[in-house]
């Protein structure tokens, strides 16, 4: 199967995404809102899933538990705890009662969702020639990633903020965002490699440069 066909299959598969169930726990979908929580709580297992092998077993287990907690506990409890920084208390209680969670199955679920999300990700290619951006001041501020997506999708669809943040699966939200970008005639292309992977490669190349070798 060529890469384009494989991508299309993943995009179509994402349309069926929705709430799920793991070990009898009902899970909200991975959404724009839960991605935001993953960032706030530093869940590298989700944010940089390609580096899952580099995370220690204990940390992997902790992140798996956090992932399941934030998708299964009542949303108001999760948001309140993350907002005031007290999340380790309800999360600790959850982890105590759910110690039998099977880590490989959760990681497989994260990997499955990440594949759908990766297929939906695009980057906007700047168009050549002069644009209004060329004359923008250098200190212009950009909105946050989550706000930018929610705003665009709400403007295009009139869907509620709550639906966009917590109910719409991320893999679908990104596809609809892609539609909005194309509808505005933006040039969208396959995203570049993950930032951490870029840094790792650059550090290897940089380490091979020494002033002596660099010199003529």
């Amino acid at each position: 199967m060529n890469p384009q066909d494989a991508r299309m299959q993943l995009l179509e598969a994402a349309i069926a995404e929705g709430p799920g169930e793991l070990f009898g726990l009902k899970l909200r979908p991975v959404s724009l809102g839960t991605l935001n929580l993953c960032r706030r709580l530093g869940l590298s297992l989700v944010l940089h899933h390609e580096q899952a092998g580099l995370i220690s077993e204990t940390e992997r287990q902790r992140q798996v538990m956090l992932f399941v907690w934030m998708h299964s506990a009542p949303l108001t409890e999760v948001l309140g705890a993350v907002r005031d920084g007290s999340w380790d208390t309800p999360f600790g209680a959850f982890a105590e009662s759910s110690s039998e969670l099977i880590v490989p199955e959760v990681i497989a679920e994260i990997r499955r969702v990440s594949q759908l999300v990766d297929a939906a990700l695009v980057e906007v290619l700047p168009k050549p020639g002069r644009s209004s951006d060329d004359e923008a001041p250098g200190d212009i501020l950009e909105p946050g990633f989550t706000a930018s997506l929610v705003f665009t999708l709400a403007r295009e669809t009139s869907w509620s903020e709550s639906f966009l943040l917590w109910q719409l699966p991320l893999a679908r939200a990104l596809q609809y965002y892609h539609c909005a970008l194309r509808a505005s005639l933006a040039w969208t292309v396959k995203p570049g490699p993950p930032v951490q992977a870029q840094i790792n490669k650059l550090e290897q190349w940089a380490a091979a440069l020494t002033p002596d070798e660099d010199d003529e």
Partner: protein
């Protein structure tokens, strides 16, 4: 850099210590041109099409002009005299328009630039969409993590 300042950028894709741009910049400085600010060189390393790409960008003050005056007499000298004049800062200072003074100034500027360049490491340039970040090679892990999170 100052507001409204005219800046002349000079860019190439070689390591500054190897590039022929560096001697040209040194020659410009020796002639009386000046950098546009306190950090006149942006030296970056990024991945382009799977390969490392080095980009060195010098910023020079584009508002400066320099006048070259042929204010020296034609003369014939031996190497010993050339050396005496070249090694004498006093002589060069007293004869600023003489070619030997220019050669000495160029030599000094180039040596000083090369010494500074040897102590510098290229910044790592990473991109995500239209955003980019410059990461010092010796940045602390928490600094790198902050930059990563800002890139989204």
């Amino acid at each position: 850099m100052k507001e409204g300042q005219k800046v002349q950028f000079v860019r190439d894709h070689e390591a500054p210590l190897k590039s022929s741009t560096t001697p040209m910049v040194a020659a410009g400085l020796a002639s009386g041109f000046a950098f546009a600010g306190e950090k006149p060189l942006l030296d970056t390393l990024e991945e382009v099409d799977g390969a490392p790409q080095r980009t060195a960008t010098w910023s020079l003050d584009g508002g400066i002009t320099v006048t070259f005056r042929p204010a020296f007499k034609e003369e014939t000298i031996e190497f010993a005299e050339f050396r005496r004049r070249f090694e004498s800062l006093e002589w060069c200072g007293a004869n600023p328009d003489h070619p030997i003074a220019y050669l000495r100034a160029f030599s000094d500027k180039l040596s000083s630039l090369r010494n500074e360049l040897r102590a510098m490491k290229p910044l790592l340039l990473v991109r995500r969409g239209r955003r980019f970040a410059l990461i010092p090679q010796d940045a602390a892990p928490e600094t790198k993590a902050r930059i990563l999170s800002e890139l989204g």
